[in-house]
């Protein structure tokens, strides 16, 4: 057979493929509308598995791998198209639009705010930067901070998510999967740790130093320079300061913030003992309702991916294709599930950008579960 003849045959088949593909996409759009009406997720893993198994059965052995790739791609394209259709005008888009319209133009200066810890904790410093005048209610743990906003005791909550030297606050990320909340703002605060002890206690008297685990990590160089001194982790830095102030012992000190000096009547033995000078902690301000203030240029989402090869890669390539920058990608293992992860994405895009909503639509389509956590700006 002549080469030209073979090519002609291919051309014919391709024409049919294009025609069938277009038909397939038309029907796919109808399915998208059906899913929209019935609030069904775009991805249907069971249907996809059955589909692949069915077509592979009909495929000659030699082409099985290729057929698999082809149908994976076909379904991927179909989901992407459905996501675009449903994503535009989808629930997230509507909620975002509504929130942008109904949220006050100014971030509130007064509010009841939930924080973890006690007076003098680092959350307080973050809180004071976010609000001019906050009525802070302190809670024993982060879980209660989330509950307090969910149950309406406090309008906002302030929790740390990240520290430049000690990394992510895992506990807070794990709690995100168990609560309903939105991020309305974030703030970076410079963290300074000081070695505090009761008046009269000298540097050489100190045998034990109490502080939060992260603070101990952040001051590791200073601590290892001390001979015969033990670092003891506790709930948080302010509680460490309070404990040192109230203890009858004269051989203990705390790593804590500057406000604790006055608050607990302590003496500062050494200032700024953290490893690096630009040690900061990033806090998020959370709320029960979605509020989007002017200038929101960060969007956070939380998602789980299908347990299959390349799913994260495919998701990232969508961001690349839409020109959306990823500020942060965090993953945490899901409890009671082997090698399955919750992913946290911080996307860098103005909330008003149309491609952000397209991106969210497509991400939703590609994920097993997808939660929009809010759009906000960060105070530096």
């Amino acid at each position: 057979m002549e080469n030209t003849d073979l090519r002609r045959q291919i051309d014919e088949i391709d024409e049919q493929i294009v025609e069938l593909f277009s038909k397939r996409m038309d029907i796919s759009a109808e399915i998208a509308a059906y899913k929209q009406r019935n609030s069904l997720p775009i991805r249907d893993p069971k249907r996809e598995r059955e589909k692949v198994a069915h077509v592979l059965e009909k495929t000659p052995e030699a082409y099985k791998d290729y057929t698999y790739s082809l149908f994976s791609l076909l379904m991927e394209l179909s989901r992407s198209y459905q996501g675009r259709l449903n994503g535009f005008g989808g629930d997230v888009t509507n909620a975002v639009k509504k929130a942008v319209e109904s949220t006050d133009k100014l971030f509130p200066s007064y509010a009841t705010v939930a924080c973890q810890g006690i007076e003098g904790a680092n959350s307080q410093i973050a809180c004071d930067r976010l609000f001019k005048n906050a009525n802070i209610l302190y809670f024993k743990d982060f879980d209660a901070v989330f509950s307090a906003i969910e149950k309406g005791m406090c309008t906002y909550g302030v929790v740390p998510v990240e520290n430049s030297s000690a990394g992510t606050v895992n506990k807070v990320y794990d709690l995100m999967t168990r609560h309903n909340f939105y991020i309305v703002r974030s703030v970076r605060t410079k963290i300074e740790h000081n070695l505090l002890a009761k008046p009269g206690v000298k540097m050489e008297d100190v045998r034990e130093i109490y502080s939060h685990e992260q603070a101990i990590n952040q001051c590791s160089k200073f601590l290892s320079s001390l001979r015969g001194v033990r670092a003891v982790p506790c709930e948080n830095t302010a509680m460490a300061a309070q404990m040192v102030a109230e203890s009858p012992r004269n051989d203990i000190a705390a790593l804590a913030s500057r406000p604790c000096i006055k608050l607990y009547g302590l003496n500062c033995l050494r200032e700024d003992v953290q490893n690096v000078d630009n040690n900061y902690t990033r806090f998020i301000c959370i709320s029960k309702n979605l509020e989007i203030y002017p200038g929101a240029d960060k969007t956070s989402v939380m998602l789980t991916l299908p347990h299959e090869q390349g799913s994260l890669y495919k998701l990232l390539s969508k961001l690349y294709a839409l020109g959306i920058n990823l500020n942060k990608l965090e993953s945490r293992p899901l409890p009671n599930r082997d090698f399955e992860f919750m992913f946290y994405f911080d996307l860098d895009s103005p909330v008003y950008a149309p491609n952000l909503m397209q991106c969210i639509g497509e991400m939703k389509a590609a994920c097993d579960s997808f939660t929009y956590l809010g759009s906000y700006s960060e105070l530096m």
């Binding site: 009525n135 802070i136 209610l137 302190y138 809670f139 209660a144 509950s147 309406g152 005791m153």
Partner: protein
């Protein structure tokens, strides 16, 4: 449910917690004592997240309260309630004697008795204007005129006046009365209690003659839940199979009510015994049991009294008894 706050809790933090609890549809009874602040929660507390409240830094502890009475419960209000009636205090270590005739009969009668009990050192003047009599043919009281005469007696002696209200309809007549008494037979007249709960008058609530302490406290709760926290409880004898006396004075009610409630507890030995010569020993026993006050019937001419003639003391007998009250009170406090 009771939420105990840590000492020195910032006001605005406490306020927000109270406001939130109220948003949940609960009544919040705030007790601010010298050493601690206690929030008593009234209503359906089953939907309250105890764990969340416990994890608040300002909260010392959260406790469940099983008793159905809340406002009058001592756990809601650890300190004794002190009720001030025109400068006369009762409760929390302040002892108060209320004395006077069963019924106000005439101007001369009430004036004579008022002067006599004042001389004996009594703190308030009692006297019936509306009388709940067993028989409809018995003297029913001077009604509005009786109240007018009590007010006259107060003008002269300065003694605050205590008199019984029987019906909601009569309430306007009591505008110038200092303490409104709810009689034993009206203890569970819940509509009356609710209306009295909306007044700002101290209420002397007498235990019904077949009512339990819990029922007495629930009646106090009716008044308090309607907004009036100034309730004085009164033990006046209950019906038992003990004969020879009108009723049996349940003196064990005094320490038990003190344990269960923060309200002042008064004892009425006159109606409990129904016999004048039994009144002094039972009065002294009541003082020894730790009551916060007494209500005693005194008449210038008991034999010819229009009501309860067998149980009223003469002014002389009352004066003697008053001195002995002070001695016993000294001995037990």
């Amino acid at each position: 449910m009771i939420v105990e706050l840590k000492p020195n809790t910032a006001k605005q933090r406490q306020d927000r917690l109270v406001e939130w609890l109220e948003e949940l549809g609960l009544g919040v009874h705030v007790f601010e004592g010298e050493s601690k602040t206690v929030l008593g929660l009234i209503g359906d507390t089953s939907k309250v997240d105890m764990e969340l409240i416990s994890s608040l830094e300002i909260v010392e502890r959260v406790k469940k309260v099983n008793e159905t009475f809340k406002c009058c419960n001592r756990r809601f209000h650890p300190d004794d309630t002190v009720i001030d009636v025109r400068g006369v205090k009762i409760g929390g270590g302040n002892f108060c004697v209320m004395a006077g005739p069963c019924s106000v009969e005439s101007e001369e009668q009430i004036m004579t008795i008022a002067r006599a009990v004042k001389k004996a050192g009594t703190h308030m003047l009692r006297g019936g204007a509306f009388k709940p009599r067993t028989s409809p043919y018995d003297f029913q009281g001077l009604k509005a005129e009786g109240i007018r005469l009590l007010i006259e007696a107060r003008k002269e002696t300065g003694l605050p006046i205590v008199t019984e209200i029987m019906s909601i309809a009569d309430l306007p007549l009591f505008e110038d009365v200092d303490v409104l008494q709810v009689g034993a037979r009206n203890m569970q007249n819940f509509d009356l209690l609710k209306v009295l709960g909306q007044t700002d008058k101290p209420i002397l609530l007498k235990r019904g003659l077949a009512n339990t302490l819990k029922e007495l406290l629930m009646s106090a709760e009716y008044i308090m839940a309607s907004g009036n926290e100034r309730v004085i409880l009164c033990e006046r004898g209950i019906r038992t199979y003990s004969d020879y006396m009108r009723n049996t004075l349940d003196l064990s009610a005094v320490p038990m009510l003190h344990e269960l409630s923060h309200l002042p507890v008064v004892v009425d030995p006159s109606h409990a015994t129904g016999i004048a010569r039994m009144v002094p020993p039972m009065t002294l026993a009541a003082v020894a049991a730790g009551c916060d006050g007494l209500e005693i019937e005194v008449h210038n001419d008991p034999k010819n009294a229009l009501s309860d003639s067998a149980q009223q003391l003469t002014p002389e007998e009352f004066e003697k008894l008053s001195k002995r009250i002070l001695v016993v009170r000294d001995a037990v406090t």
